[in-house]
């Protein structure tokens, strides 16, 4: 699982055309590798709702679960041979240039 995150304001400011080109190239590479299991981009964290249950009471917060400069903006699940391949894929994502991609192994059933 690739968790893609960055500073949302920074993304807003720098959302240039070549970023889109880079993203398209990244997607094309994933398809060519035949490793893509899932991929979604998310609306900004201002649209997030966080749910907690404490003492059987449902508590809602307007916003993401953690207040941070960088917020998760999307994720991808890829089926790869090893970490090196996942790193190569992650490094191709345009978000790594201003933010980061966290790679997490998915629990096997």
């Amino acid at each position: 699982m690739l968790l893609i995150s960055a500073d949302e304001d920074e993304v807003e400011r720098t959302h240039l055309l070549d970023d889109m080109d880079r993203f398209d190239a990244w997607m094309a590479d994933l398809r060519a590798r035949g490793v893509l299991r899932a991929h979604e981009g998310l609306h900004p964290s201002t649209t997030a709702t966080t749910v907690r249950v404490r003492n059987d009471e449902v508590l809602l917060t307007d916003g993401p679960f953690i207040e941070a400069k960088d917020q998760v903006g999307g994720f991808a699940i890829v089926d790869v041979a090893d970490l090196d391949e996942a790193i190569a894929i992650a490094a191709g994502h345009p978000a790594t240039r201003i933010g980061q991609v966290e790679i997490r192994p998915v629990r096997e059933a």
């Binding site: 790869v80 041979a81 090893d82 970490l83 090196d84 996942a86 790193i87 192994p105």
Partner: protein, 422 residues
């Protein structure tokens, strides 16, 4: 003929030092299971201790140990339910192949499993502390308790670090292989950096008992030798080995009985380990033959200039400055520029060195660093300007916790204060 027990114990000991990493690496290669590999290697050595006294020491102890550990691993996998799937994978691979031949793989062209192991231990997805600990456990065969003692951390902390590192390798899928050619230079640099760091941890450690630090230096040299053997065509691997051998040879005279740092011009040169220096020079020679110079080779060449000089006065200071010029061109780091300034001072007098230190201080790169203050203090003292040197010794003292350095700096400060009083 039955060998006397002490001979067998010595043979097992020798085999442990030579073969531990090779056996672990082979069993990981076979099973992919790091814990199993360690346990089966341990078992194989226990079996050696039990059977070699009456069966005799095998001609090729490494092959015997590897075969024994592999059989044990396959046995263990066969016995566990989880193992069934793994065993099928093993059988489909090389499980039915004859036991590993104990060839001297550094010359045979066959990739030694230890190479895969060391690149995996030093994978950049692992933290540096984890890399060092893993290398010491799996390649060198230090126990968790020994590694913990060497780094002056509680054993439980070190155990957790190792467990987490192995868990990450397994779950995150860090591959057990030598990296592809395009990634190789960078990954090899990371391997050498781990060995260098391990040595420095012992060489310039800021805390911890002298014996533990000595152990780190010993193990770093062993690891450097292994890496150089495994990478015969990498001049920097040999350069690093040369550097560590030469530094190691002077280790004992580098600090006084109470731990005070002894500067090179005051060291007892007759106490230097001549055989160690000769081995270092040979490694450097081997590295330089490739004619692809690098930072480790240059640092080894500088260390060699000091090591072969009969006295401080007879040291080839011009050559040392020339080597530093090359080194700064390759690695323009503030500490290397600082060392070059000190070398220039030795060759052209303290004022020349002080001018370079002023430049360095102006750049702000080493602001507040005790090494800058200590170097400036030493050069001012040599220039017979004790009143100016004293405040820099005080600044250096305030910025370091290293006991050996503190004692040395305090001694120099006292000398300066005495000179001022006269």
């Amino acid at each position: 003929v039955i060998a006397p027990p002490h001979d067998v114990a010595a043979a097992v000991d020798e085999a442990f030092r030579r073969e531990w990493g090779r056996v672990v690496a082979a069993v990981i290669g076979l099973t992919g299971d790091w814990d199993l590999a360690e346990e089966c290697t341990q078992d194989a050595f226990a079996r050696a201790l039990a059977t070699w006294p009456h069966d005799g020491v095998p001609d090729r102890p490494g092959a015997w140990l590897t075969t024994t550990a592999r059989r044990r691993a396959i046995d263990r996998l066969r016995r566990t339910a989880v193992g069934e799937r793994k065993e099928r994978a093993v059988a489909a691979g090389d499980g039915t192949a004859p036991p590993l031949v104990d060839d001297d793989t550094s010359t045979s062209g066959v990739t030694d499993d230890r190479l895969r192991l060391i690149y995996t231990c030093c994978h950049p997805a692992l933290g540096v502390e984890a890399q060092v600990a893993l290398a010491l456990r799996t390649l060198v065969g230090l126990t968790t308790a020994e590694i913990a003692r060497a780094f002056v951390v509680p054993e439980a902390t070190m155990a957790k670090r190792l467990v987490r590192a192995k868990q990450k390798i397994r779950l995150a899928g860090i591959p057990y292989r030598v990296p592809a050619a395009d990634a190789l230079p960078e990954r090899t640099a990371a391997v050498l950096a781990v060995v260098y760091l391990l040595f420095n941890e012992g060489y310039v450690a800021t805390a911890g008992p002298a014996l533990a630090r000595r152990r780190l230096c010993d193990e770093a040299v062993r690891l450097a030798r292994m890496v150089a053997d495994l990478m015969p065509d990498d001049p920097e691997a040999h350069g690093l080995l040369a550097l560590l051998l030469i530094q190691h040879a002077r280790l004992a005279s580098r600090s006084g009985p109470d731990g005070t740092l002894v500067p090179i011009e005051e060291q007892d040169r007759s106490a230097w380990d001549r055989a160690g220096i000769a081995a270092g020079l040979a490694a450097l020679d081997r590295a330089l033959r490739h004619e692809r110079v690098g930072p480790y080779q240059l640092q080894a060449a500088i260390a060699a200039c000091h090591a072969v000089a009969p006295t401080t006065a007879e040291t080839d200071r011009v050559e040392i400055v020339r080597l530093y010029d090359d080194l700064v061109a390759l690695v323009p780091s503030p500490t290397i520029r600082l060392n070059r300034a000190v070398a220039v001072a030795m060759a052209d007098g303290p004022e020349a060195g002080l001018a370079l230190l002023d430049e360095l201080a102006a750049s702000g790169d080493l602001a507040g660093h005790h090494l800058l203050a200590a170097a400036r203090a030493d050069l001012l003292r040599r220039a017979r300007r004790p009143a100016e040197a004293a405040p820099h010794y005080r600044a250096a003292l305030a910025a370091t916790d290293n006991e050996g350095e503190v004692r040395y700096l305090a001694r120099r400060l006292a000398e300066c204060e005495a000179a001022i009083a006269e």
